[in-house]
Amino acid sequence: MGACNEMNRILDKKRLSETVYSMRVEAPLIARERKAGQFIILQLCEDFGERIPLTVADADPAEGSITIIFQAVGKTTRKLAGMDVGDKIAALVGPLGTPTHIENFGTVVCVGGGIGVAPLHPIAQAMKAAGNTVIIIMGARNKELLILEDEMRAIADELIICTDDGSVGRKCLVTEPLKELCEQNPKPDLAVAIGPPVMMKFCAATTRPYAVPTQVSLNTIMVDGTGMCGGCRVTVGNETKFVCVDGPEFDGHLVDFDNMMNRLNSYKKQETTDHQCKVGTKAGEPA
């Protein structure tokens, strides 16, 4: 039935890296309303499919299309990656969430890790358009996993690339150049960090001593995406917030990342947090 609202047809499909895909999908109403920072909920089968949130990476209101970028890691994203131009997505709901607050802050550092570069792109774009000096730090495990480099380069006043193996850019974690920027005078007016939870956690930890305000965008487990289940809730400054309506962006210095990472693993009972922490110390790695 979702299909009768809008066609939800796939107009274009690109493979950005081994597991990351970009798709342009017909969704005129969402394209018209969406603002930077907002997301959609997608479902591939209305009877048994799960509802997953994906950021709207770009939108073309004139064409009536939105672009989604996703990593084929779960049941639904893998199935989505297998779909082709012309196929229809059963359900697309949105745009959801509170848009990013955009204004001329001065200098904004945008930090993107792995697939997090996709949701960061429209925000960096909007920050630039608002008159900010935009410094972009992009991180990935290796050269192959780096996405949207050209797009980001087009926006950035300064672009810093980091990889874990040094196959391109600096061989370091994104927190290293972030720290250097914080140490400069004047320090950045705002940092926006989007990536794996552990990367955002360490970015927030990096900027905290310098009191650089730091926004993070959380991608929790969701069901409805409209505030009716509370499954997406996180602890922010000792208060409970619903990511789908109060977020997805929050003050990174107030988010309880450990609790959030635990909740993300709710359905992986067998895995221990121990394992997750080890993976976790490597920023820039897709969660």
Partner: protein, 497 residues
């Protein structure tokens, strides 16, 4: 209560019916009172604990006619006053007693648009059945005529025999009405407005219409096919349904009334914002709102582990916090999903529990363990940040509060722990703020409920509202009643404009 198999009940009813119907003389009140109250046949508790199928199986023809004959047809008909939509109860019951089910359903439908649903989920014991003369005479509301079961019986009879008709639609008026939310309030308004010949579009945020009847109330209490049938009737009447459409996000109220050309709107978005207790540990892994737990299981079909992509916890020991229908549904769902032990923790005592008595009885039969006069103090974490238990306090009943119920007061130092892996919070819902926040000028009260006049009209011209978004979390029948009232006012407004 001991479980009596459906076959035994049916056989007994057959026998009694043969005796009663053989009587030549018309039945006297004494004879009617002597007919045994007909139990609702149900699935064996031992079996139904592990399936999602409906628990209550519905009356056989003999059971229905016997139960109908228990009605004294008293002229005062206190039952009608007890019904929020004033169904002609003695009228439809007499028709069943006469074996004229068609007449019975016609009488029901004069007042109720969702009899198959209401017969199953209404709290009859506090509404129509509370003042029933038979119950009073027999000194127990349990012995009142089972009006709800009879309502269900005729509605099922009509549906199962393929007799549901598409209501006649008046010629097209060219007026356009938008309905936001497809719970009982929205569905009722859609039917009443479409009948007058206006165009109707229903907007639903979820991928399936039906509201709480689909995402909240489980299959074992209200089969989804029944709700779907009501939706099918609406689409057959020419109502347009737009699912995956969030008003306030995909389109705003002002867009609908402006650019999109709607002449009037009805907001029936329900009370969908789960309340939490604000106690320590509430965000640990393993703590759910009942909304989330039930939505995963019902709407997303997580119980069908083979086919559904949406997971739900494989819980061993579950505590449900609360005492309403939502809490019962969550506890009984946990049983069916395979939990070994399910506790229901409620602050007051059994008599104060707002849940339907039948659900409480069914929950007990299914092995849910009730802890009354207890309240959680905090949820305990293991070293990984997962639920390991709950710390509760014992309570006693003190002085009556403003609602007249005796207020539970904590007993100091009575803390104790229960070991658990899952906690489900079912302490109520508030209204979702999305529409309020995106519709300037729409007046709401301090709980966020939309303020309406006696016709269901909001503070903005051409916008009406009803159901839980106005009443706060209430009932299906009240949502339907409010919907009918608002629809009547909207039809009048549209006719005059």
């Amino acid at each position: 209560m001991t479980y009596i198999p459906a076959e035994t009940l049916a056989a007994e009813a057959k026998k009694t019916w043969a005796e009663v119907s053989a009587k030549k003389e018309p039945l006297k009140p004494k004879d009617r009172m002597a007919i045994p109250a007909q139990e609702m046949p149900s699935q064996d508790p031992a079996i139904r604990r592990s399936n999602m199928e409906e628990v209550a199986l519905g009356y056989s023809a003999e059971e229905a006619r016997l139960e109908a004959l228990r009605c004294l047809q008293c002229t005062t008909a206190p039952c009608i006053a007890g019904c929020p939509v004033s169904i002609n109860i003695p009228g439809f019951i007499q028709a069943i007693a006469d074996g004229d089910n068609k007449k019975a359903i016609d009488i029901l439908k004069e007042s109720s648009l969702l009899p198959a649903v209401c017969g199953r989920v209404c709290p009859q014991e506090t509404q129509c059945q509370a003042p029933c003369t038979v119950g009073k005479a027999l000194k127990s509301v349990d012995k009142a005529v089972s009006i709800g079961r009879l309502e269900r019986y005729v509605a099922d009879w009509e549906r199962e025999n393929g007799l549901m008709e598409i209501p006649a639609i008046k010629p097209n008026t060219g007026k356009k009405v938008g309905i936001i939310g497809t719970g009982p309030a929205g569905l009722t308004v859609a039917a009443d407005i479409r009948r007058e010949g206006h165009d109707v579009t229903l907007f639903e945020a979820f991928h399936k219409p039906g509201g709480v009847m689909v995402y909240g109330i489980p299959e074992f209490r209200l089969p989804k096919a029944i709700v779907q049938k009501e939706i099918d009737t609406l689409t057959a009447m020419g109502c347009e349904l737009k699912t995956n459409f969030v008003i306030g996000r995909t389109r705003k109220i002002s867009d609908l009334l402006g650019e999109d050309g709607f002449d009037a709107l009805f907001i029936g978005t329900g009370a969908g914002l789960p309340r939490f207790m604000n106690i320590e540990g509430e965000n640990l892994v393993g703590v759910y709102s009942a909304n989330e737990y039930l939505t995963r299981s019902n709407l997303m079909r997580a119980y069908d582990k083979e086919r559904a992509a949406t997971p739900v916890f494989d819980s061993e020991r579950v505590a449900v916090l609360g005492g309403g229908n939502v809490a019962m549904d969550a506890a009984r769902t946990a049983v069916r999903l395979g939990a070994k032990e399910v506790y229901l923790i409620y602050r007051r005592t059994e008599v104060e529990m707002p849940a339907r008595v039948e659900e409480v009885a069914h929950a007990k039969e299914e092995g849910v363990i009730f802890h009354f006069l207890q309240n959680p103090k905090r949820i305990l974490s293991d070293e990984r940040g997962w639920v390991r238990g709950i710390e509760c306090l014992r309570y006693e009943l003190g002085e009556p509060d403003a609602s007249g119920r005796r207020r539970p007061v904590e007993i100091k130092g009575s803390e104790f722990e229960i070991e658990l892996d899952t906690v489900i919070v079912a302490i109520g819902n508030d209204s979702n703020p999305l529409i309020r926040q995106t519709t300037p000028g729409l007046e709401t009260n301090k709980w966020g409920n939309i303020i309406v006049d006696e016709n269901g009209k909001s503070s903005i011209e051409r916008i009406y509202a009803g159901g839980d978004i106005v009443l706060g979390a209430a009932t299906v029948i009240l949502a339907m009643g409010e919907g009918r009232k608002a629809a009547a006012a909207m039809n009048k407004m549209l006719a005059n404009s």
